[in-house]
Symmetry: C2
Subunit: 656 residues, 2 copies
């Protein structure tokens, strides 16, 4: 619950914030522009504000003289709110108040806990679970085999039967049972073929049961460490009495061999290529596992399960399956349902009892990551007609509800993951994730992930920049820079016209951070492919955007994207914004829930079976829909009436 009010002068605009909130973050979230070039790292000194009234916490900073500090001047990016505040924004940051009424607050990101609750009716009942049993020692009157004794006890105590046994358990069970004085904890896994006994440990170690879930992306690999008993992401103490989540990510090391799935497949056809790609993705995963274990302090042998959701090509490469035919018409994967495979078989650094659950796939370009997203977001449970969009390297869309699901992959390209963009980056520390541009001065306000010096622009930053450039009249509806603007922020660079978001000396890299006209073309093609894909999917079932009752957005955009901005560039359709919900990394979400509940494991299989995939490459209407969408926001302005109206008003306000 927000408990402080900040009033910004001279506009008088008030916003509600939580005590302790950062002023710059609060401002940008509320659509209040304050110049800021260093991403919130406290180094550019541009976000000077004056605290007229109220209490803040803010360190001194070289960019502020002693005199300024004493007069109440602060850098917004390093200042947090401790009471109701009255703040004055310096003239150079101010936007004409007449345009402010057009701004709306737009945060549709649920808390992680809320997101985990999109799926209903499941109980914490992991597919990999431990049970403690105390056995009667054998005697001459009861000398069944040790394994039978153990399985009988599991049946008697817990009603579990038909358990098959991993050979490694058989190898050690006799000695272990005796050493443990017949008191042991077993680990069981539910597979498509029933229960399997994969581990036996001495004594009662029920309290320690963890899993790791991995979203295996073409560009980025994310991992989380889960506590299976508590059905939550493990907490990592931050040394200040609070906890962050045990999660880690890294670039997919395959990037060195190609940016997208097609170039990876091409590389895999070279001699030793497939093996190399498998090696490096395994090493990426091992790195993430290592990080998760180190940050959480959890022992490697306590990890019981590994769940991986990836697109079809990544899954093939992970397993060392030749992906050749994924790329060739008619785009056939080798297998969509992968049998359980032991982690150590792939060279993954986990206990040799750990099995990997690999999310089932649907088609060559509709992978386990999307099945996981559909699972995690609960579409398969609801009557509500839902459009699920995963805007990652490829751009996959799913439409449907509990009764039917159709899907399509848009070949959108990884632009919104920062790939193929001159100063693009993934959503990592230093990535520009929020951008506002003063339509009068063209000066930017930047926020970076981690509030450090900017190193590049991630997905949400790219959307913001595009939208602000377009709204501010810096680029036209074709995405071309207006040449007549009086600002050094727009210039002709080595790749043609570009907008400078941060000057070299303000950044964490050795150069200016810019967005070029070529980048913008690239982003427009991407957003056009996604929009066109949605349109085709809806057309195929004779429905329109306004029939959709819920739109779920998943993808690797920083913490979230600004909905209004995404709509204003035509990436997302203009419908009631209340229908939108951001689910963050949908693939990781589904993998997490599946880890927690064996019912959801069965549902994942069902989802993969029920999903019908449309081949857009085979669809004659797709190209015309795509071309129509390569315009800001869209050739058909009636599809974006509010955006069109707002841009007009904005331009008018500015001109007045």
């Amino acid at each position: 619950m927000p408990n402080c009010t900040i009033t910004f002068r001279p506009s008088g605009r008030k916003i509600e914030v939580n005590r302790g909130e950062n002023i710059l973050e609060a401002a940008i979230a509320a659509g209040i522009h304050v110049n800021a070039s260093c991403g919130g790292s406290g180094t550019c000194g541009k976000c000077k504000i004056k605290i007229v009234d109220g209490k803040t916490q803010s360190p001194q900073n070289p960019k502020l003289s002693r005199g300024e500090f004493d007069k109440g001047c602060r850098l917004a990016c390093i200042t947090s709110c401790l009471s109701d505040l009255d703040i004055e924004i310096p003239i150079e940051s101010q936007v004409d108040p007449s345009v402010l009424k057009l701004k709306r607050e737009g945060r549709y990101l649920l808390s992680p806990r809320d997101i985990d609750q999109l799926v209903e009716g499941w109980e914490v009942d992991p597919a990999v679970f431990k049970r403690y049993v105390e056995l009667d020692p054998p005697s001459l009157d009861d000398n069944v085999s040790d394994l039978t004794r153990l399985l009988n006890a599991l049946h008697k105590e817990y009603g579990i039967k038909g358990i098959s046994t991993d050979f490694r358990v058989i190898m050690k069970v006799s000695r272990l049972l005796r050493e443990a004085d017949w008191k042991v904890t077993v680990t069981l896994v539910l597979t498509r073929k029933g229960y399997k006994l994969i581990n036996v440990e001495p004594g009662n170690v029920l309290c320690e049961n963890y899993s790791i879930v991995v979203d295996l992306g073409t560009t980025t690999v994310f991992g989380q460490l889960l506590n299976l008993n508590r059905a939550e992401v493990c907490g990592v103490p931050d040394g200040m009495g609070t906890f962050t989540m045990a999660e880690a990510s890294d670039y997919n090391a395959q990037i060195s061999y190609g940016e997208d799935v097609i170039s990876r497949i091409v590389y895999s056809q070279r001699s030793g290529g497939l093996q190399k790609l498998q090696e490096v993705i395994i090493s990426t995963i091992n790195g993430i596992i290592e990080t998760l274990l180190q940050m959480s302090g959890i022992r490697r042998d306590l990890i019981s399960h590994l769940v991986i959701a990836g697109n079809t090509t990544m899954t093939h490469l992970l397993l060392g399956i030749d992906p050749k035919y994924i790329r060739e018409d008619p785009y056939v994967p080798t297998a969509n349902f992968i049998p359980p495979v032991r982690a150590v078989h792939l060279g993954i650094d986990l206990g040799d009892h750990v099995h990997i659950y690999i999310f089932p796939m649907v088609a060559s370009y509709m992978g386990g990551d999307i099945v996981s997203g559909v699972l995690g977001s609960g579409i398969f449970q609801r009557e509500t007609l839902t459009l699920y969009m995963d805007i990652g390297t490829n751009g996959e869309i799913v439409l449907g509800n509990k009764d039917w699901l159709i899907s399509a992959s848009c070949s959108a390209g990884p632009a919104f993951e920062g790939a193929g963009i001159k100063c693009g980056t993934r959503a990592t520390r230093g990535a520009i994730e929020r951008v506002s541009i003063n339509p009068n001065t063209f000066e930017p306000m930047l926020l970076t992930i981690g509030r450090t010096k900017p190193i590049g622009i991630c997905g949400s930053g790219l959307i913001d920049t595009m939208a602000e450039l377009f709204q501010g009249g810096i680029i036209d509806q074709n995405g071309k820079f207006r040449r007549e603007l009086n600002t050094d922020r727009v210039r002709k660079g080595s790749d043609g016209f570009e907008y400078v978001l941060a000057w070299k000396e303000e950044t964490g890299i050795k150069g200016d951070i810019v967005l070029t006209e070529i980048d913008i073309e690239n982003l427009i093609r991407t957003k056009a492919a996604i929009y066109a894909g949605c349109k085709i999917l809806l057309d195929s079932v004779d429905l329109g955007f306004h029939d959709v009752e819920q739109i779920l957005i998943a993808g690797g955009f920083g913490h979230s994207i600004d909905l209004d901005k995404a709509i204003s560039i035509g990436l997302l359709p203009e419908v009631d914004t209340g229908k939108y919900l951001f689910v963050g990394n949908g693939s990781l979400l589904g993998a997490r829930l599946l880890s927690f509940s064996k019912d959801l494991l069965r549902e994942a299989e069902r989802i993969a079976h029920m999903m019908t995939n449309l081949e857009l490459s085979n669809n004659s209407s797709f190209m015309s829909e795509f071309v129509a969408a390569t315009f800001l926001p869209h050739t058909n302005s009636s599809a974006f009436p509010q955006v069109t109206e707002r841009i007009c008003e904005y331009q008018t306000a500015k001109a007045s």
Copy 2:
């Protein structure tokens, strides 16, 4: 159908034989004694007979002078019958005709084909089978994964669903389907968890589907190569237009590390011992596989399945499972039901798709070989109360019918496999398998396997020798040699008194072949343990030997044992001999049938579950029954009325 009559002079005894039958073999089978020391190899020259009338085929031989040959003298061991014959036996071979009436013909061995039919109602429907499918190539309208396409086709064509897939198949399926122009033969295996796709081959190769079955004995390992399509043992052309069966055997190479299971378990507890024992048994199996492939000319990659039946210790050692607790009270095996394991995982030289089916076990001393024997002999199907006895290294007994089965292991020791017997040998070429002793001259008549010079005495030969020594009054009821006999065949050797079956110069080894008093003690202990085990088993269900409706004898005795002789030493109970049936190697028999029929695979599991094992070491009556049985034929002569009567008559006849 016998079609020649041989009349032996001077006794006038007639026997029916087949044209071409060997005279010495025919004589011993009919209980007619002809001195013969070299086992039928034509080298001792003792089996001289005179053809008075009729046609024979017989080569000249250095042991016969030209004059003798011209007068019609022949060596019986190298002479075959071509018409009705009138044969005169020389005086030194003749047995007093008054004892001949006591002899009976006794062969109860069915042909291999008949034995395979002890189990009824199964169809040829192997657990590992091939199916041919022609797939529609993928198109943009039908681009499911290659694996799904294949599984869908198997479902549509053959109604098989729920197939899981071996990872190795996934690795190769895409390329193979295309190279084979979408026409392939798949190999499926039925496991406890359902069907599994284990191989895909290009084109239609349905006609080539083989399996290997192995009886994994403590002393000897037997193997057969089966044609799964024809449900028969593969034939090996013998170069003369006929076929022998593709079967091979070898000593279990673990013998170097101990003769019985206990000494093997002891060895396994040494550092590296378990690994060593596993290594050498695998090498024995590989040797047998190599022999089978070479003799049959069948390619290694055409073998789809390996079925192994072994006792519990051998099975543990094969798999590298520590057998420690099998030996320690209360005698607990690690596991009785073994999950399918791939042959290559154990280092067995077969295609990497080959899974091993390992027969389920019942207890530490009631193994998969016995379950296999019970399966193969059909006990589990019949109302008939059956006693199944496997007289191998250990001596296992099963009693029951289709509704119940109880079993016991007798710790009999491997004496009847020739182990622990001074001149004992397994049933191999040169092993003395048939023995007759002239009660007047004490001269022996020997037949060896392969009719070559004797190298030792195998199980059936040991039974014959014991029985003949006892019947001829050479040993007494305690198994001690009578000292007063006037013959150099009985002498005091380095190990005490002994009977010389063959003199050094008649043998294929560098010494005399003898049976010592210590050997006889050993054999008596063994037969006593087996008899006592049967008695205890019957007592436990309040039944007696005469309630038993069928007695099945399995075990590694040469080609068969002489029933009368086995009864006369008290190894087998004296009941109506019509109840006896020899099934040969019961373990191999069951393994063969299981290979041919998936229904029998399910039955094997059921048998292992339903069998109740009695621990004799825990049974207070066992020791007294054992002691009572350490007498020839038994302390309680009323249990062997006919034997007792016959011995009396025999001794009387001899004395008269």
